[in-house]
Symmetry: C2
Subunit: 389 residues, 2 copies
């Protein structure tokens, strides 16, 4: 084994999750076990902190505090959505060299994996010997090259419980319709998970729409009308990024200049208004929004453990000589859920989006299949259901 | 003591809460202890079930199931927002007489207490001997004649935790503003409780607006701009029923014909759009909506106990000869939180709204005072806070 020694750096990218700090704790704890790693820094506010050399020395923080931070949602280091230019990679390498950093861990989504790949290439070209490992993180579950992503299970659990609870409220006062807006800009993985809200087949959500399949307004209205006629109440789970049959966003999304991909959408409200106007229904909307990925009450234990494990595996991989790779979660075959970590070349991951498989959407386009439920069930937390008279 | 014997009936009114079923369990358990009560019925879907004689016999349901139902949010009986006419009270009395019902418990908010009062008057006029007791219930905490209302503490706790969690998310990615829309159509009690999200004075929410005080747009923009300049991120807690200086609802509320007081509002989004447009801020909104009053994860233990206690006290009061009264929660003087139940004449409660005291709003109009915090602190569940590096 190549006995490179030096400092290490961990960088967050993109939105926080319930378990990104778990990966941070995994990295920190594992670094303490490797004498090759002389110090561990954390970049404040993502790549911006790297460029401005704004670092926290994580290796000097005591283990109890790291453990406590590891158990709380949000990004304790701070994060960034900034994209950097080709010229910036040289500046990043300078910033690393100044601190003697030889190991870099990017914890983020597709964009961060792209950045990690670019940095790994720049480091190789420069012969700097810096090793770069990606740690997957996104509530959206849309990173390629891994069975699923840390962050998904907790937020999926939140939204399944939210739809279950809202559904019980709606059930108590007949005649109502609620459209629940679920996070997920391009991928429907989170919206799909609301199917776990059901204890019985007829329970909410009664309609589930995923952005992978365009939704014609006429179809939506027909679906809701039919469901309402049958039950007298309807709960719809719809993805914030849902598009209509012409590819136009349904949620009347605003993209103010300079806030790339920062949606200030309003899908649930838009659909509820449509139901009021067109079908004269008593419709309303709920949009938990950021709460879905930040709720302290919804940390899936499996998700937490895997996020921690990915942090540990990243350190082991870097110390073991790997670079330009992302840690992946690998599901063992068989009925029992077991997961190990692997490594995927960053080039196979960078900038790609893994959408929800079309054959896991029910033929009617308003539900998911049992195959998806089997896939996602182990990832979320335990579902309790309402006792009824 | 007047030894009236007969059956009893419990009726839900208005929106469900996390603990209305706790009151139901309190009523059911207490009825079993009184031989004067020969059977207990529950009306399906509120007053509609009374008029159509759609009853469940609660006294025949085993205790374990009642206990389980008592622990879950939502209205297990179903509820109604229907108003009934003067002529309907005679029909209600007929429906009661047909089942030998002598004790009636209305579990609801202002509207239900009005209905209970009218029924008590009609029963007295008819010499029917039917006794009517109100059990307070509303997340809005706006019922007169009681220190606070069952339902408030749990939903207040939900929104405090929601703002804490959303605040931690916003903090991780500088430059963002989130407007969190809090339930409460006319009263600001729930919005005020988001102040418990703070572990430190500078924590979110940075601005709290209550509907008892009109909010001028210019003031709102100036407040947000100033808070943003100071911190680089802002979290606003705003009440869905907030009005501007001209008394107009800020949330662009729609009131479709026939859905009295059923708001399909959009306050958070409207304010976020305003911030984008006027201040060029990266603003968004969250609206947990019905989840705030239905979340299984947020049942405040104090709230649950008091809701159960109110159900018990209602039965004891009716058996003891009282009628035309609402159970109240009475806070003992002194530093330690202790509560007993009392009785308030329904005439003093019916149709009244107890708004948030203006002198508990900070002079700037964008925060609450320590007096409110002292009042509300015992009612919510325990607040955990994020560990930080």
């Amino acid at each position: 084994m190549d006995r490179t020694t030096g400092a290490a750096l961990v960088v967050h990218g993109g939105g926080p999750t319930q378990v990104i700090n778990a990966s941070l704790a995994g990295v920190t704890d594992e670094c303490r076990r490797h004498p090759e790693i002389t110090a561990l820094y954390g970049a404040r506010f993502g790549i911006d902190g790297v460029l401005s050399s704004d670092f926290i020395e994580l290796s000097s923080i005591d283990e109890a505090r790291i453990a406590a931070v590891g158990r709380t949602p949000g990004s304790a280091l701070g994060s960034s959505r900034a994209a950097i230019s080709a010229a910036d990679y040289a500046r990043v390498l300078d910033s690393l060299a100044a601190r003697g950093i030889r190991f870099v861990f990017f914890n983020g989504g597709n964009g961060s994996m792209y950045m990690a790949h670019q940095l790994a290439c720049a480091a190789a070209q420069a012969g700097s010997g810096v090793r770069v490992i990606g740690i997957p993180k996104t509530i959206d579950n849309d990173i390629a090259g891994t069975d699923h992503t840390p962050g998904y299970g907790s937020t999926a659990w939140f939204f399944a419980c939210a739809v279950r609870d809202i559904g019980e409220d709606v059930r108590a006062l007949p005649g109502r319709v609620s459209v629940v807006e679920i996070m997920g800009r391009y991928a429907g993985w989170l919206t799909a998970a609301t199917a776990f809200a059901r204890a019985h087949p007829d329970d909410p959500p009664h309609l589930i729409y995923l952005p992978e399949r365009p939704l014609a307004m006429a179809q939506f209205l027909a679906d809701v009308e039919s469901a309402f006629r049958r039950r007298g109440t309807v709960v719809v789970a719809a993805c914030e990024g849902q598009k209509d049959e012409h590819g136009r966003p349904l949620g009347d999304l605003m993209r103010p200049d300079g806030f790339e991909r920062q949606l200030s959408g309003n899908l649930g409200h838009t659909l509820a208004q449509l139901l009021i106007r067109e079908l004269k229904l008593n419709a309303r909307s709920e949009k938990p929004g950021l709460l879905g990925r930040s709720s302290m009450a919804f940390i899936s234990e499996v998700d937490w453990r895997e996020a921690y494990l990915c942090g540990q595996a990243a350190v082991a991989a870097a110390v073991g000589g790997h670079t330009d790779a992302m840690v992946s979660l690998v599901r063992a075959p068989g009925r029992e859920y077991r997961v190990t970590t692997g490594l995927t070349p960053l080039a196979e991951v960078a900038g790609k989006e893994r959408l929800f498989p079309l054959d896991w959407i029910a033929p009617e386009g308003n539900d998911v299949t049992a195959d998806f439920l089997d896939y996602a069930r182990p990832l979320i937390g335990p579902m309790q259901f309402h006792a009824r008279l």
